[in-house]
Symmetry: none
């Protein structure tokens, strides 16, 4: 029996509230041999106190050695097998800006880039990271492009990034990216990876040719590439599978997009963690499940900034009492993947996880950190198992079998 179908068959409603607190890229590594990880170095009295009352462990997002992108890491946290549900970057980008993606739309992430006007080869894959205002002006230009038989949407995202969505009957996915991932070569054409995708590939290539003409006199953004051309994977919505009214609080477009894909209501919020806590408080009565996303742990890890990552964790820790004052029934704290400052990128390492409810079985762990969690009662667990465990602790899963 499919796992999600099993959970759905057991889900029962009640009035409990579950809080999933995701510190993006939480897992870390010692930056100096023998030293602490970011989380171990951070002063986290409130997380430690919760760990002491809860049950801890180390959680594997996908599989040993596999480094998750943000999509798969969150899919697993939401209970969807990321190897079964693949989500294209274009879809995430479109949803992240609040674009109302229809089931049959095909979405691409666009990057403005710089081309050598003589040879057409890419000289900068991000067009000198043009400001968002320039991106908005260029997108406005590109909206003039029409294609036969389909609607075309071009939307600015941030800096050099935009979203391109085609809508119409008969569109398919199965298309290659045009970003060659290096400079000194021209952008690639969109190629179909299966015969049925040829007409849709043709439409994207027609659009690209027109875009290159319109951008020809621009500097530095006189070209663009398309990545992650994909359709909405059609996830069974979380409210339907789990019987939960789901609210998402995230500041960054991609995570808002992922939440929307999973069927959550994405709540308007400000830019700081304190703003997010205020949003949580404001909407507390309306939802059974909250996905609360903290982005800056990951950004600091990607920048290789050990201290800043530890500081973001401390910032969250200081806000934890205000969060717990709302009286959630189940609190789950972890991340979507590790982003050690030492590695400066997402990594494959397991993440510390902390579950608290009135009905968890506490272990001897009294500090929330990678090495302490090794002795935790959850042992080595998988991301896919966390949400069912939270539901059980919330009294929301009926007995299996007689």
């Amino acid at each position: 029996m499919d796992r999600l179908a099993l959970i759905q068959s057991l889900a029962i409603p009640n009035t409990s509230k579950i809080l999933l607190l995701v510190l993006d890229g939480l897992g870390g590594l010692p930056i100096t041999e023998g030293g602490p990880t970011e989380l171990e170095a951070a002063r986290t009295p409130n997380l430690d106190a919760l760990a002491a009352r809860g049950v801890c462990g180390l959680s594997l997002p996908i599989a040993q050695g596999i480094t998750p992108g943000s999509g798969p890491g969150h899919m697993a946290l939401f209970g969807y097998d990321p190897l079964a549900y693949e989500i294209g970057r274009g879809v995430l980008e479109a949803l992240g800006i609040g674009f109302d993606l229809h089931a049959e739309d095909v979405a691409a992430r666009g990057n403005f880039c710089s081309l050598d006007p003589q040879t057409g080869v890419i000289t900068d894959r991000r067009a000198g990271r043009i400001p968002t205002a320039v991106c908005e002006r260029l997108v406005q230009k590109l909206r003039a492009i029409r294609l036969p038989g389909v609607e075309v949407f071009v939307e600015p995202v941030e800096d050099y990034r935009f979203a391109l969505v085609l809508r119409g009957a008969g569109l398919t996915d199965g298309l290659t990216e045009t970003d060659p991932q290096r400079t000194g070569v021209p952008p690639l054409p969109v190629e179909p990876t299966r015969p049925e995708a040829a007409p849709t590939a043709g439409l994207f290539n027609t659009w690209l040719a027109a875009a290159f003409q319109l951008l020809a006199d621009e500097r530095p953004a006189n070209g663009c590439t398309l990545r992650g051309i994909a359709r909405n994977p059609g996830l069974p919505p979380m409210p339907q599978v789990y019987g939960l009214r789901c609210g998402a609080i995230a500041t960054y477009p991609m995570y808002r997009g992922i939440a929307k894909l999973a069927g959550m209501d994405v709540l308007p919020t400000g830019h700081t963690i304190a703003d997010e806590v205020e949003t949580l408080r404001h909407h507390w009565p309306e939802y059974d499940f909250f996905f609360f996303h903290v982005k800056k742990t990951d950004s600091a890890g990607e920048d290789g900034d050990f201290e800043r990552k530890a500081h973001v964790i401390e910032e969250l820790d200081q806000l934890l009492p205000a969060i717990l004052a709302l009286n959630p029934d189940v609190v789950l704290v972890t991340g979507d993947h590790s982003t050690p400052a030492l590695w400066k990128a997402h990594s494959w390492h397991e993440l510390p996880v902390l579950l608290w409810s009135r009905y968890c079985r506490p272990d001897g762990v009294t500090r929330f950190g990678e090495r302490d969690c090794l002795a935790g009662g959850l042992g080595h667990i998988h991301h896919l198992d966390l949400l069912p465990l939270a539901l059980a602790n919330a009294g929301r899963l009926a007995k299996f079998g007689a």
Copy 2:
């Protein structure tokens, strides 16, 4: 998505070097109640120092309670699911002597045996372990046998063992062994396990009848049996799947054969562990991945010799600094299976495993031993997960998903 296909889709090249150090049959048991295992009893300051800097755990070769043969244990270490890729003993034996096995060949392991000249029942399944020189003379005799429409190869291996390979169109596997696994009964005929295998079974039986005639006057080896009649399973080669140039260093034919089956270059080497280290040093620049096999831990375990097994581990430990001086980026130390001296055979027990790289997450383990590894950061892991983990630590696996 198939696991090997997933890893292949993520594999990226770089200049890092991975060393897989396999102490055959490493896992042990206390020989006296309350005592140490072989590894715990051995003095291993260098392995202990590496364990302190690395991450440890206990690894399960196949599944709980399943005792692996040498083939499946190594397949799992190389990342091939041993339940999906079955390898016949005949194939291993042929490859182990450097026989150039073609994809469609059918290979059997042969054992010279002693038969009662009157009744034809087996009196010694190994013909008194005749010396290899006698084996070679008998094989020379058997080479006179011709079969219609196929080429026949007979090759000596060691002692009473030889390899028999048939080559030709239309040969199949799906054949039973002729060794009844006990004395006092005659050898069995080759039987087809599916209808299409009947003609190939007939060829093997014709060959056996001729062999018995040629051997009739020999003593003690006046008969033979065939085991593990099989075809090359056609493993996707490691260099292709992982993007690694793979070199194998092993002294014993079967392990050289397994390595060749997996697509590795099998390097000429001497008989001692020190010889193998010299081979490693000599070929260090040429490969990205080395499979370094130590046989005598297993032999000692099979002989029930606790002290000798501990001593082989100590011998390897003393050579470890010379190995580490080559500056591998990732070192993985484990075995293919346990061979406790107490059990005198391969066993089902998990094995201690040690992974070191600059990017592993150290735990609190400071001694490399079964009980210490229980507290390790890798927890209870599977052999199949070890190579992907090593690849990740080497920076050789790209992110999965956006």
